[in-house]
Amino acid sequence: MRVRTSLSALTFQAMATMPAMRAPATMVLAFQFAGWLYQPPAGDQTSPRSNEQITRPLEELPSPPVSSSLSAPRLAALHARLTLSPRLPLQTLHRTLIHPTADPDPRFNNASLALLGGELLGYHTAEHLICHYPRLPMSVFFAAQDAYIGPRALSVITREWGVDKAAEPGGEVAPGLLQFRAIPAGAPLTDPDAPKEKIWNRGVSSRIASDDSNPRRSIRTEDPSENKDEVSYEQACTSFVRALVGAVHLHCGRNASLAFHRDHFLSRHLDFAKLFDFDDPARDLSRLCAREGFEPPIARLISETGRLSRHPVFVVGVYSGRDKLGEAAGASLNEGRVRAAAQALKAWYLYSPPEVTKPSSVEGGETGKKWIPNYVDCGEVVA
């Protein structure tokens, strides 16, 4: 019995025709070597194999050749599915799917595009949140931003866009698949031998100062996703979506990138009221009323049912003078009071001006809109 083995893992049969690489045409002149021990050989040494086409197996390449993106059905389908502008070429779309762990060459990976796209995403989202919810506390603001454009949201978006991942990066992989070198299954996420670094729970002020919304990160070390040989699926998805945003901005302009952000990120529903978590809403509300010059809040029972039963319900309203600030139902009088105070605080924090002019919408004067200054709040109530 003979065993037929294909050696394609080592000397693959599939050959890719690479663009003809020519040796640099440098002229060798006699006077350059006058008096030197080394003398160049006789004859023309400039281009010994100028007409020879260098072919390499596709598997040897870290990522598929750029030319293959033009005939890739997955890329064309993704381009159409996202209704991207024809100005965005398939080659760039192909590049956004190559993570630096797959191809370290910065000419072919998405590192630069992801950097630009990350900044744009952050800017557009922050602008939207600040303009539409000017009284939002910073912690809620960070949570909202993470919900819109955080790594988890971006990986969900990647899956919704129908982008599959490649099992292993390589030149033979079909263009249109997300290529990255994944962390092996079961491997520890952090190096067990590395010296343990103290990770601090940082406050909001520290996060604002360091321009980083991550609450649990060591201040001294750099971003752990950078300069790694292997990354998680979430990190790869994040870099892809960011790179695509950057590519849309570069190829199609500011307005297209704004529309892309609105259609794909801001269109996602986010219940802001669920992001709040108050320690003592009644105290916060009284501080707020004191700061704003309102009358101190007073909780009043509006209605009740089954006081002596197993499940009583008390509807409590919080009033400032004759104005009702909030109303909620609770199983006890105190619960109703606290819930009503929280309701009143949410109503205050989630105020949204009816008409908003975003700074980015009037940038460049292309849209013909006139800049109307937005409402700016003095800040959250410090408890």
Partner: protein
């Protein structure tokens, strides 16, 4: 059962076009063939229906010694062996194709080839001018492609009711273009332009891939890729980049990569 009427053999039709055979209309067909200086057609030599013994007399009696079946192979002619080739000083037999290997694909080239076949056959029939001379006279057709204008109308008007002419033209056009056209298809053609259309028609696709390429309904779509062969598991694994990993691990363990062959 009814006998199926069979048309004459093509090679006989070609020989029938020679002027000598046309003059002796009162002779029977085998006698015509014998009278012609051309070599005897293969079909005539081996045909059982038309084969008449050469030694037969007018009254039908066979002359010569009586027939005795051979008991040994002594005295039989041997041929085909290397000794025979050396003895007879023959050139080794070389197969000559009836149709050229290369098929013409360009419609204008095919059209010219069919027209050339017409002229050649008609020239042979008239036996007046040489085919090259006649062809040179109609070289202007190359400048004005006969696909449009007056030239095309003229070609379309040529009737092809004569069966022998039609058949000879078709066979010669096959030789010139390398495109095989069935006899049944030629049978239904009654004008020159129809014959040209028969040759320039796109060939029937051999498989689904060819059919899809011809229709271009799917091949034009950028998000569809038609594979000429069935995609195997290896193709699917290669597409997502896992095949090289699998292959490497199999080689590391000394296991067969593809299925075992005896």
């Amino acid at each position: 059962m009814r006998r199926i009427p069979r048309p004459q053999n093509a090679i006989d039709l070609v020989t029938a076009l020679s002027p000598r055979s046309q003059t002796n209309t009162w002779l029977c067909r085998p006698c015509q063939l014998r009278a012609a200086s051309l070599p005897k057609p293969l079909t005539a030599r081996y045909s059982t229906s038309t084969g008449t013994p050469e030694t037969s007399d007018s009254d039908g009696e066979v002359q010569g010694p009586p027939y005795v079946p051979a008991q040994t192979w002594d005295g039989l002619e041997w041929f085909g062996s290397p000794e025979w080739v050396a003895e007879t000083n023959r050139q080794p037999f070389k197969y000559k194709r009836f149709l050229p290997k290369q098929k013409s694909a360009d419609p204008s080239t095919i059209r010219h080839a069919v027209q050339r076949a017409f002229i050649e056959v008609l020239t042979l029939r008239e036996a007046g001018a040489s085919p090259d001379e006649l062809w040179k006279r109609t070289e202007s057709a190359k400048d004005n492609p006969p696909g449009e204008g007056e030239e095309a109308k003229k070609w379309g008007r040529i009737p092809l009711t004569d069966f022998s002419l039609k058949f000879a033209v078709a066979k010669r056009a096959m030789q010139l273009t390398g495109i095989r056209v069935s006899d049944a298809a030629v049978f239904g053609v009654h004008s020159a332009d129809r014959l040209i259309k028969l040759f320039t028609a796109t060939p029937k696709p051999k498989n689904v891939t060819e059919k899809l390429e011809q229709t271009q309904a799917l091949s034009k779509l950028p998000n569809v890729k038609v594979s000429p062969k069935k995609l195997t598991e290896i193709d699917k694994e290669t597409e997502i980049g896992r095949w090289k990993v699998i292959e490497y691990e199999l080689l590391q363990r000394g296991l067969p990569v593809t299925r075992m062959t005896r």
